[in-house]
Amino acid sequence: MAVAHGHDDHHHGELHNPMEPTRQEQIVMNRFGLWLFCFSEVFLFMALLAARFYLWRDPVQGALRPELEQGPALIFTCVLLVSSWFMNRAEVASANEDMKTFNQSLAMTFVMGLIFLLGVIFYEWGLGLAHPHILPTDGAFGAVFFAMTGMHAIHVITGLIFVAIVWRNGNLGHYSREDHWGVEACAIYWHYVDLVWIFFYPAIYLIGIGVHIPGH
C-alpha cells in the first residue's frame, strides 16, 4: 500500500539523490496520477448516464424514470453527503496532527459509507424486502438502474476498504503534518464517489416523468 503510507526520506536522515524526485515532488506526481485515474473513470459513468438518458425516454413524453420511493433515496444521499463532510474533517485533522478528530471523523466516514451501502443493497435493491420496488429483469428500467447503482456501490466498497486502511495507518502514526498523502488520496477518492452520486441521484430519482413498473 505505497499510496497509503507517508514516509518522508528526510525523516530518516538519508542523503537525497538529485536524480530522484523529492517526497514533495512525488506527492505532486501521485496527485496528478490519481486525478487522471478519476478522469478516466468519468468515461465509465458518463456511458451509464448516456444509457439512462437514451433508454429511459419516450418519443412523446420525453425523459422517463422508474417510480421509486423518494424519501429513502434522499436520506441515503444525505448520509453520503455527511460522510463526505467527515472525510474532509479527517483530512484537515491529519494536516494539523489532530489525531483524535482524525480517528473519530474517519470512523464516522466509514459508518456513514456503510449505512449508504447497506441502504442501497437492502432497500433500493430490495434484498431485505419481501416485494422489491425494482428488479434487474424489469426491462430497460431494471437493467440501467442496477448497472448504475451497482457500479457506484462497487466504488463505495473500494472506498470503505481504503478508509479502513488509512484509519489503521493513521493509528500506527504513518501520517504527519508534512506528509499525509495517504489521507489526501483516500479523501480524493471518497469525494469522487460522492461526486458520481451527485449526478446519479437526480438522473435516477428526479429527472423525467415517473413511470409505474408493472408487477410492483
Partner: protein, 77 residues
C-alpha cells in the same frame, strides 16, 4: 514504525476554525440538495436539476477534493 500510543500522544491544541470551511461547504451542499429535491418533486425541470448538480460538483471538486492543488502546488517544483 511507531505503535498505537503514538496517536494517543498526539492531541495538540488545534484551532477549530480550520474546520469551518469544510462545514460551510457541507451546509451549502445540504441546501443545494434540499433545493434539488423540491425542484425534482414540484418543478420537474431537467435543466435546473443538471445545473444544481454541476454547482454541487464544483463545490466538492474545489473545496473537498482540492483540485486547485494540481496547479498551485505543482508550480513550486
Amino acid at each position: 514504525m511507531s505503535d498505537h500510543s503514538h496517536s494517543e500522544a498526539k492531541s495538540p491544541v488545534v484551532d477549530k476554525t480550520v474546520y469551518r470551511k469544510g462545514f460551510n461547504t457541507f451546509i451549502a451542499l445540504a441546501v443545494l440538495t434540499a433545493i434539488e429535491y423540491f425542484v425534482g418533486i414540484y418543478l420537474p425541470s431537467a435543466v435546473l436539476l443538471i445545473l444544481l448538480a454541476v454547482a454541487k460538483a464544483a463545490l466538492v471538486m474545489n473545496v473537498f477534493m482540492g483540485i486547485t492543488k494540481l496547479w498551485r502546488e505543482g508550480d513550486h517544483h
